[in-house]
Symmetry: C2
Subunit: 212 residues, 2 copies
């Protein structure tokens, strides 16, 4: 019995250490991806960042594609924690929609990532590709747009927005504001990026309000 429980302790320690090492790889990989895109996450660079060998990496992932898919899922989890969870505290309808947008704009640096939104960058990186990585980005972007669409539709249902609002067009234009903000903040490094985005979103809301 004693020997058995000792083995269990060892097994737990091994599991915890594997978990920690796996987390370490995901953390370093997501930082790389945020700064240099999916293409920047080469197995050599990632192994060096996580202070392990390339063959050690393959104990955790089957292939480079597998690494990229796992990093995208990790980005989605962090996005959920920094954007979706705090917004669910707001009332459904316009308050929740506003909160989602406020937490969405510039979420990546607030989450401690050294670069921009890894999903926005991945969209432009894989748009003309095919395969599992593109499918993962598409799944994430579709789920995110579905959440924005649902939140906007709830704002319409509750009378916070115009009853004949084109909800799909609203989300399409909102996505444009997010992308323009990303370019202004990360690429142009414009000090008024937040101001311009808030003005654009405020204007989009103002023209979507119910007729008085």
């Amino acid at each position: 019995l004693r020997r058995g429980s000792c083995e269990m302790v060892e097994l737990d320690t091994f599991r915890m250490s594997a978990r920690t090492k796996h987390d370490r790889i995901l953390q370093e990989g997501l930082a790389l991806m945020s700064r240099d895109g999916l293409a920047g996450v080469t197995l050599g660079v990632l192994a060096a960042q996580a202070e392990m060998s390339k063959s050690g990496l393959f104990a955790h992932f089957r292939s480079k594609e597998d690494v990229q898919v796992e990093l995208l899922k990790h980005a989605a989890q962090i996005g959920a924690r920094y954007i979706v969870e705090p917004s669910m505290a707001a009332d459904p309808g316009l308050p929740r929609l506003r909160s989602l947008v406020e937490h969405w704009l510039g979420w990546a640096p607030r989450a401690g990532l050294p670069g921009g939104c890894p999903v926005a960058a991945a969209i432009f990186e894989v748009d003309d590709a095919s395969g599992l990585v593109r499918e993962q980005v598409l799944r994430m972007e579709s789920e995110w747009r579905a959440l924005l669409t649902q939140s906007t539709a709830e704002a319409v249902e509750r009378g916070h927005l115009h009853s004949d609002l084109d909800v799909e067009q609203f989300v399409w234009e909102l996505s444009g504001i997010y992308l323009s903000h990303h370019v202004a903040q990360r690429f142009l490094r414009a000090p008024d990026a937040d101001l311009r985005a808030r003005r654009a979103f405020g204007d989009l809301l103002a023209r979507s309000l119910p007729s008085p």
Copy 2:
């Protein structure tokens, strides 16, 4: 004399062939870049596409960075031919601004590129980087935004748009429409990408018209 002119002919033939080979590299490189981004333009792949050796490539370019900068300049030339030149035929003010936007949206596939706009993709690829490639993308994007700003300001001066229009905000939101269209067309492959972009631009214009 005869020998001299013969040498000149040979020199011209050499120059023309070098020019043609250089053009061939730029053409193949821009196609690669349009599909796979700057990171997709590796010297090995580019040499294979242009049917030459890697060392042959270095007779034309000093470094990978030099290849990327030349490809970006080549993209700017093609953009000028497909977007700016035809729009200059339109009257200054709103007609020219409309023409610029019509020729801008989806210009890359119309110019025969196999993927999306290489400049939009490069913006998201180099935003957190530093160096000559980022500086080239920034120069191109700044020139393009200056042209949009000037065309919008001309439309204001001629009374085609509201006299107290925030021209910078107008161009900021227009850039968002372009990016959202790029995502819809290339990434989501949405059949209504053009329709949504036209509706968004039409709406941006409608709320920028002079008060009646």
